[in-house]
């Protein structure tokens, strides 16, 4: 029996990146490869449930309090209500600190694991580079499953800014503020790279493009008009990476009729039960049926209206396909699933690239943007009505889905990854050399 190439996928510990990679891994498996997953021990189980071998990086030694996540949300909830510029100091810089610390802790065990595994290629879906991957000596492919803004260009608004594409005058101030805030951790990260033989990265950058291949999860309807065209030999745009799930039967509601609205803010958003309770109170007065993903916190809710159904997990792509409106946090995976099924998005971003996707949804007429907390009941209802009733938006979405659905992102990604694993040559992209703003 011939065993195909071993592809080690290493997504960051977030459900969006993880499920994006699951879709790609299933396509790799169908092509005869042996996809395996590298994950942090605290993020285990996700891939095994899809039938993939998992290799765990050890947890930090410190004991984890049971209240960790509640403490996290309590600490950051006020920050999530801030504008992107005000989140730089309060959320983004501390998050980069945590990311770099995790990369440092992962380095030795990751290097040892890659030496044992000897994969034919590594697929990295993350926001930070792990030197162990370069040191492993095998080709590696970068997946950019965040918004396209993660890969800078003179014509692309700054990453995490949520700034408009047509107002570059405001970009410089954001970038200066960003670079100043993340400067200390960026310095720490470059020293870490240097210790392991990697060149430093430009200001504000934590991950270079792969010299072999790079996959961008950016449907054409959202793409920016880049000043410097990305070399198609090294960069492939994907029209989404929507995975196949079992069909979803819309459950019977105790009462209510009308359009079906699916609400999910991801696992982090589910922790903010107060916000979801506020929304449910509005849903009770709106002529629609609502499916709300509340994660592990169903017991936090009472007197749930008859037109609302809560659950701890939904087969999201199948649910979105049945929905008339998808209210989400702007995660790139969620946004792509909405586009794939031609469903309008009402984006209420918390942080990170959610702001960029919310802005882009408005700019491209594929969705609406509402502040996550600063709304009245009438404003939330008006936003839902607008998204449900906008015929022009529905037409654009339908037209885009006609292009997007046949262009299977997972198949294209698998094809590119296998080409690299089976002898693709290293190109001439020098780390950190992709043209960028500033």
């Amino acid at each position: 029996m011939t065993i195909g190439p071993t592809i080690a996928l290493f997504p960051e510990a977030s459900f969006g990146a993880a499920l994006n990679c699951v879709g790609i891994a299933r396509a790799l498996k169908a092509r005869g490869a042996r996809p395996v997953f590298i994950c942090h021990a605290g993020f285990s189980g996700v891939f095994a449930e899809y039938g993939f071998q998992e290799y765990h990086l050890p947890l930090a030694d410190a004991p984890v309090p049971e209240t960790y996540w509640q403490d996290f949300i309590s600490r950051h909830q006020p920050h999530f209500n801030l504008d992107p510029a005000d989140q730089i100091e309060t959320y983004v810089a501390p998050t980069w600190d945590a990311i770099v610390e995790t990369a440092e802790q992962a380095e030795a065990p990751l290097f040892a694991l890659l030496q044992r595994l000897k994969p034919d290629a590594v697929v990295l879906d993350n926001v930070v580079m792990f030197p162990a991957i370069v040191r492993a000596g095998c080709p590696w492919v970068r997946v950019i499953s965040c918004a396209e803004t993660e890969l800078p260009d003179m014509n692309v608004p700054p990453y995490l800014s949520g700034l408009p594409a047509d107002d570059p005058a405001r970009w410089r101030a954001f970038i200066d503020c960003y670079n100043a805030a993340v400067g200390p951790v960026h310095g720490r990260y470059n020293r870490f790279r240097s210790r392991h033989g990697l060149p430093p990265l430009a200001e504000g950058r934590f991950l270079e493009p792969s010299p072999w291949h790079n996959l961008l999860l950016a449907p054409s309807v959202l793409r920016h008009d880049r000043q410097r065209r990305l070399d198609p030999a090294r960069f492939t745009f994907l029209e989404g990476c929507v995975r196949q799930e079992a069909p979803f039967d819309v459950p019977e509601f105790a009462a209510g009729e009308g359009p079906l609205v699916y609400v999910s803010f991801g696992s982090l958003g589910a922790l903010d039960t107060d916000l979801i309770k506020r929304m449910i109170a509005v849903f009770a007065t709106f002529p629609a049926r609502f499916l709300v993903n509340v994660g592990a916190f169903r017991d936090a809710y009472r007197a749930v209206p008859d037109n609302v159904i809560l659950d701890q997990w939904f087969p999201q792509p199948s649910v979105v396909a049945k929905a008339d409106l998808f209210i989400h946090h702007g995660g790139n995976n969620s946004f792509c699933e909405a586009l794939y099924s031609a469903v309008p998005s009402l984006i209420m971003p918390y942080c990170w690239d959610g702001h960029d996707n919310a802005r882009r949804a408005v700019e491209t007429g594929t969705g609406l943007w509402l502040h996550r907390a600063n709304w009245t009941a009438e404003e939330l209802k008006a936003a839902m009505r607008a998204a449900l009733d906008d015929r022009g938006m529905h037409g654009r979405l339908a037209e885009n889905a006609r292009l997007m659905v046949p262009e299977s992102g997972v198949e294209l990604a698998a094809e590119r990854i296998l080409a690299v694993a089976q002898g693709g040559s290293e190109g001439d992209v020098i780390p950190g050399s992709v043209p960028e703003f500033g």
Partner: protein, 318 residues
């Protein structure tokens, strides 16, 4: 939990009698019985692993529904004109209070009803009279789903619809289900096993985008109920059957992705292979593996930049 209320229990069909009536119809179907076929009480009691008293109650219920006829000198027979063709579980019409009971438990699972409710609240919500509400609550009490609290209040039991309770459920099953197979005297209902195999193979033949999760849930319950019913120890059998009834309640379903659904069905078939070959110890081992693999290991929450942490019920050794 004690049955409360002390009212006319004989006048309403109990949930376990409804279940038994469905099993009798299944059995008749699997045996290829036609209209007029004799339904001996002792035979049914043996096949269903219960005493004759509940069998009589179930047959009486079927008689009331017109599916079975009774003659004093001939016992029970399938009624003329009854067709048993169809799926594994012929739906039996529920009486008014059973339907109300189902709505109550569905609404509790959906958190529309609080943990404690008063009879008045239930009457208003469902526009039902006091007698019907009390009967419905009584039906739920018999299954341990609700208990009478002081005054006019009723308090719901913990439903197996949270990550913690679902983890406890798997621990419970890891203890009892393999034991059901390895305790001497396990009797496989081979007709039911064959019918289940056909149904599971048919489900597996569906492509991913048509793999019906609801149908999977039904077959999963049927499969594990088959093991419960085959146990020789009646208390073990009853405990497992009661637990599977809880698992069948709305909200208790553990949703899984399409890959895990398919894998779980393959594991069922492997266990069936061993059961039908009388390799009970091997079947019990495979069952342990199946239950361990069925435990959701997903983290509750994760986010970029947050050290990934396993905040979830720790798996226990079964």
């Amino acid at each position: 939990m004690q049955v409360t209320g002390g009212k006319s229990a004989l006048s309403r069909p109990r949930q376990n009698h409804l279940d038994l009536a469905r099993r009798i119809l299944d059995l008749a179907r699997e045996r290829g019985m036609g209209p007029g076929a004799h339904l001996p009480e002792q035979f049914l009691a043996t096949q269903c692993n219960v005493s004759r008293t509940p069998v009589r109650a179930a047959l009486k219920l079927l008689t009331e529904q017109g599916l079975v006829e009774h003659a004093a000198d001939q016992g029970y027979r399938l009624a003329s004109g009854v067709s048993l063709a169809g799926g594994l579980a012929e739906p039996l019409p529920d009486p008014e209070e059973a339907e109300l009971a189902a709505r109550i438990i569905r609404d509790r699972a959906a958190r529309r009803l609080d943990e404690t409710v008063t009879v008045g609240e239930v009457m208003r919500r469902y526009d039902a009279d006091r007698r019907t509400v009390l009967k419905a609550l009584g039906t739920l009490a018999e299954d341990g789903l609700v208990a009478r609290a002081p005054g006019q209040s009723w308090v719901f039991a913990n439903l197996p619809d949270s990550l913690e309770s679902q983890s406890d459920s798997l621990d419970f099953r890891l203890i009892l289900e393999p034991a059901a197979l390895t305790t001497p005297g396990f009797a496989l209902d081979r007709d039911r096993a064959a019918a289940l195999r056909r149904a599971m193979v048919a489900l597996l033949a569906e492509p991913d985008d048509r793999l019906d999760g609801t149908r999977f849930g039904q077959l999963d319950l049927e499969f594990h109920m088959l093991i419960a019913r085959g146990a020789s120890n009646r208390y073990l059998s009853e405990a497992l059957a009661a637990h599977h009834r809880l698992r069948g309640l709305p909200g208790a379903v553990v949703r899984s992705n399409v890959v895990r659904l398919r894998q779980a069905m393959l594991e069922h078939l492997q266990i069936l292979d061993q059961l039908e070959s009388d390799q009970l110890a091997v079947a019990a081992d495979l069952l342990r593996v199946h239950l361990r693999l069925s435990r959701s290991q997903r983290p509750r929450a994760a986010n970029r930049g947050v050290p990934p942490l396993a905040i979830r019920p720790a798996p226990r050794e079964g």
